[in-house]
């Protein structure tokens, strides 16, 4: 009963509308492919502009929320509650001079921001905001997302290499190493979802969540969230930028509209990631009847975004070796253990004839997994926390030996 608005922005209804228009213009022979292109084009236009607007308001939300965490007010001068701030920022960025360094690799430097933004925009096409996705209901939905995300590291390489700046190259080398490392735990977290859902299609994953997967496998959720935070290179893991160490990392040389696009891609990532998390772990558009599915989806996205902001404003930045160690020594192992556990549970509990898991099976799995997760995390915390006591004795500074002999 609430789907009437959604059916308005649906590929089929757009296609039918354009088909009628082209037919009335007397182009019935080529109407089918022309309306196919026109429907795709206008839906892409809608999706991109909605996302850009959402990103603008997201930057406002992020700055205000982090300001609250840090006991200050945040942007509150332009418009009511400072809501005009993102637009003022965008106008300022566009009016700035767009400089390109003389030594830069100009085409690579120019394409890099676009190459960083495009994958983020592509991900949103396969996310089922209600029963179907915006543009394409792919059979390989989640695999498409993993594949598209991996293009990011190349875009960061292009930005770093194109600017011919050693800090930029250092930032992009670190960034690429980090992004590749964290792709593995992210894929492991996704695999544990796929073991239960039995399908790569996003709509199927949502349909299988009689009990939300965050309840069924908290460990998978933890691994995926940590890896996704690193993939976005946000604060505990923001070695790509590292203002205090690398200037500003890969975007040191960017200015004007190019910097605006990099900024856009960076701040669009949390929105897209929270949409993916909502689909994979929080039951997508499922909810109670008094609100339509899209509203539930947006609400859950909002909660995830807030948790991401909470993480960002609470933790300090990790060192690059700590980041890599966390990926390879902790997250990957947790991911493997989680997959192993869930595979055993699925093999035991699944109905061999129909290949389905009832919600009762899911509840049993949830009970086992919660106990297991809490035990593992307590064990890990003890293991890692103990290291604090075993610190080596402080080495005296070499300068200590250089004092003149007469003194002391």
């Amino acid at each position: 009963m609430y789907t009437s608005f959604y059916q308005l922005i649906d590929f089929h209804s757009f296609y039918d509308m354009y088909y009628k228009i082209f037919e009335s213009l007397g182009l019935s022979s080529s109407a089918s492919w022309m309306s196919y292109l026109a429907a795709g084009g206008s839906l892409s236009f809608l999706a991109i502009n909605l996302l850009v607007l959402a990103t603008a308001f997201y930057t406002w939300f992020e700055r205000r929320t982090i300001a609250r965490f840090q006991v200050r007010r945040g942007p509150n001068r332009n418009g009511p509650f400072g809501l005009g701030q993102p637009f003022a920022d965008v106008i300022k960025l566009i009016m700035k001079e767009d400089t390109i360094p003389t030594e830069a690799d100009k085409p690579v430097f120019t394409i890099a921001p676009i190459a960083l933004l495009a994958p983020t925009l592509l991900i949103i096409t396969v996310i089922p905001i209600d029963d179907a996705s915006f543009l394409a209901t792919l059979n390989i939905g989640i695999l498409f997302i993993v594949g598209i995300t991996s293009v990011n590291s190349i875009a960061i390489f292009m930005a770093g290499w194109g600017s011919r700046n050693k800090y930029a190259i250092l930032g992009s080398m670190r960034g690429a190493a980090m992004l590749i490392s964290y792709e593995i735990p992210m894929a492991l977290g996704i695999t544990s979802v796929l073991l239960i859902s039995g399908s790569l299609a996003m709509t199927e994953i949502v349909a299988k969540q009689d009990i939300w997967f965050i309840v069924v496998m908290p460990m998978g959720f933890f691994v995926f969230m940590a890896a996704a935070t690193a993939e976005m290179s946000r604060t505990p893991f923001d070695q790509i930028e590292a203002e205090s160490e690398l200037g500003s990392g890969y975007n040191t040389e960017f200015s004007g509209i190019k910097f605006a696009i990099l900024f856009l891609a960076e701040f669009m990532a949390p929105i897209v990631t929270s949409a993916v998390v909502t689909t994979l772990f929080l039951g997508g558009s499922q909810g109670f009847d008094f609100l339509p599915g899209q509203a539930w989806f947006v609400l859950k996205m909002f909660v995830v975004i807030f948790i991401l902001l909470w993480i960002r404003s609470t933790w300090p930045r990790l060192r690059i070796d700590q980041i890599m160690g966390f990926a390879w020594k902790i997250l990957m192992e947790l991911g493997f253990v989680n997959i192993f556990l869930i595979a055993i549970e699925v093999a035991v509990l699944m109905d061999p004839v129909t290949g389905l898991l009832t919600s009762q099976d899911l509840l049993i799995m949830a009970a086992i997994n919660w106990v297991f997760t809490i035990l593992t995390l307590v064990f890990l915390a003890n293991l890692l926390g103990k290291r604090n006591y075993d610190r080596p004795d402080p080495v005296p500074s070499p300068l200590a030996n250089m004092q003149p002999k007469g003194e002391k």
Binding site: Y36, A136, L138, L143, G147, V151
Partner: protein
């Protein structure tokens, strides 16, 4: 699913020509461009084009894997290797045996084309089947991942395990190469 339902043959044809021509042009650019970094970027474009061709063939899973492995992993490896090479600006020069090499490459291309055209591809022509069987075939093709994984773990399990052992050996070899000597 939507695309297969609505897309007319002309749309598919236009996308095929656009994708294949850009793939071939970027493949030529990989070997012709002097700047190694740009050449590697064109290589990535070639990989993306191949993924697009897979999608046009209805092999979505292969396209996703192509994106993940070739675009996401192998090309990053190549770029890392390039960044660690000395004198990047003057490399990718033409070799003194380039005529011989191009002859050999041409021979390989002709061989590949003749193999592709002479192979019996076991294609299914949906028009020659009755309606109920066509639906079944389309369902199998559209949901190819369970079929593929079942084949991998039953009929081709030996090859699958061999690949796993090979990758493990490669990882161990890399570790042995970079191990600190004591």
């Amino acid at each position: 699913m939507i695309s297969q339902g609505i897309a007319s043959s002309l749309t598919v044809e236009i996308s095929f020509w656009v994708i294949s021509i850009s793939t071939i042009l970027s493949a030529i650019a990989v070997v012709q461009i002097k700047d190694l970094f740009r050449a590697s970027l064109f290589l990535i474009l070639t990989f993306l084009g191949v993924a697009g061709l897979f999608i046009l063939l209805g092999a979505e899973f292969l396209a996703g894997i192509q994106l993940m492995i070739y675009v996401g992993a192998i090309s990053v490896l190549i770029i890392f290797a390039i960044l660690m090479t000395r004198e990047i600006e003057i490399s990718n020069q033409s070799h003194y045996m380039r005529i011989l090499v191009s002859m050999v490459a041409l021979g390989f291309m002709l061989l590949a084309i003749s193999l592709i055209t002479s192979t019996d591809w076991n294609l299914i022509d949906s028009r020659s089947f009755p309606q109920n069987q066509t639906d079944e075939i389309i369902a199998t093709v559209q949901n190819s991942i369970p079929t593929l994984s079942k084949m991998l773990l039953t009929e081709y399990v030996l090859a699958f395990e061999m690949v796993g052992v090979l990758l493990l050996a490669a990882v161990l070899g890399a570790l042995a190469l970079v191990r600190e000597k004591k």
